[in-house]
């Protein structure tokens, strides 16, 4: 989409805000609608928009598949390890009460951590699936449609 000047300029302006909004949905998830999954798909949509406008090759340079492939299991691991941390501190698996002195503080820490784990996995899996798909398809020309 090299010659779509309007699309390129508008996307360039919008992508930082989409990512910022995704992070807001992530870290404000305790107070407003949203959470790890929603934030993850919003940020992944920003990555996909970038790849659509600037090409998959450039997107792969910015969002390296190798790093994304590490992030995906890291998210699941973060979630699972939070459970084990609660177990180690004396509670049940995923019982966040034990993560801090105070039950409520423990819950807050636990929820933030596992939501961040979900976020990592969702962002990287969505972006990886798109990049894998885009790697298979042919370059789309405008008159193809």
């Amino acid at each position: 989409m090299r010659h779509h000047l309007v699309l390129r300029v508008v996307s360039k302006l919008l992508i930082p805000f989409i990512i910022l909004y995704g992070l807001y949905v992530q870290f404000h998830g305790d107070f407003s609608p949203g959470g790890g999954f929603q934030a993850g798909v919003i940020v992944a949509a920003a990555i996909i928009l970038y790849a659509l406008i600037f090409g998959t090759d450039r997107a792969k340079q910015v969002f390296k598949p190798r790093i994304l492939m590490v992030m995906a299991p890291l998210g699941v691991m973060l979630f699972a390890l939070t459970g084990y941390a609660a177990l180690a501190l004396g509670g049940n698996y995923l019982d966040y009460d034990w993560l801090a002195q105070n039950d409520t503080a423990g819950q807050h820490i636990g929820i933030l951590t596992v939501e961040f784990g979900v976020f990592l996995t969702v962002v990287s899996v969505m972006a990886l699936i798109f990049l894998a798909f885009a790697g298979r398809t042919h370059e789309i020309h405008d008159d193809d449609w």
Partner: protein, 188 residues
């Protein structure tokens, strides 16, 4: 006012669905299904399910439309025309639809606080979120804390799906071309 909005949105959904059924052009069908997702997201907002609306807008209207377009570049643009009309699928769909509508007759009214599903454990969650967890968003409290196991499982499912897709499609095209396993170019 709410009734008007819901009627308009549901009407739009119906029109879009029929248009998707009628068109034979797959590009048009893909774009329409993106529009369908966006309209459902609006409907979910009016039902106060903003979390689901987020997901529907981002995944349904955004990511999956793009993936469908990517698939379209690998296949034909037009659906194969089926000449003969078959009665049995229509019959199955009509009967299933009628049964589903019959099932809704017994359902509690929308937002009914005395609905059985809301009387079982939900009061405990609401009180616990207020007193123990102390965060305003009950949905987050239930998803991440009370139903932590479920969410852990869901995250693992997403991860597994990603691994599966990467195993199937992860190899780059050039590698396939070098190995000579790629299908020949489709005729335009």
């Amino acid at each position: 006012m709410e009734l008007l909005i819901n009627t308009v949105l549901l009407g739009l959904l119906g029109i879009t669905a029929i248009a998707i059924l009628m068109t034979r052009h797959l590009f048009v069908a893909t774009m329409l299904s993106g529009g369908y997702s966006l309209t459902s997201a609006a409907l979910l907002v009016s039902l106060d399910a903003v979390d689901v609306a987020f997901t529907e807008a981002a995944v349904g209207a955004g990511v999956s439309t793009v993936l469908m377009l990517g698939t379209l570049t690998l296949t034909r643009r037009r659906e194969k025309v089926q000449k003969e009309f078959r009665w049995s699928p229509l019959l199955v769909v009509t009967v299933t639809g009628a049964l589903l509508i019959y099932g809704t007759v017994d359902m509690p009214a929308f937002g009914d606080p005395n609905a059985p599903a809301l009387l079982h454990i939900v009061p405990e969650y609401i009180a616990g979120t207020r007193d123990d967890i102390q965060i305003p968003n009950i949905v987050t409290a239930i998803l991440a804390s009370y139903r932590g196991y479920d969410t852990l499982g869901e995250t693992a499912v997403i991860f597994t799906a990603g691994v599966g897709v990467l195993l199937l499609l992860g190899r780059r095209r050039e590698e396939d071309e070098e190995a000579g396993t790629r299908r020949p170019e489709r005729d335009a």
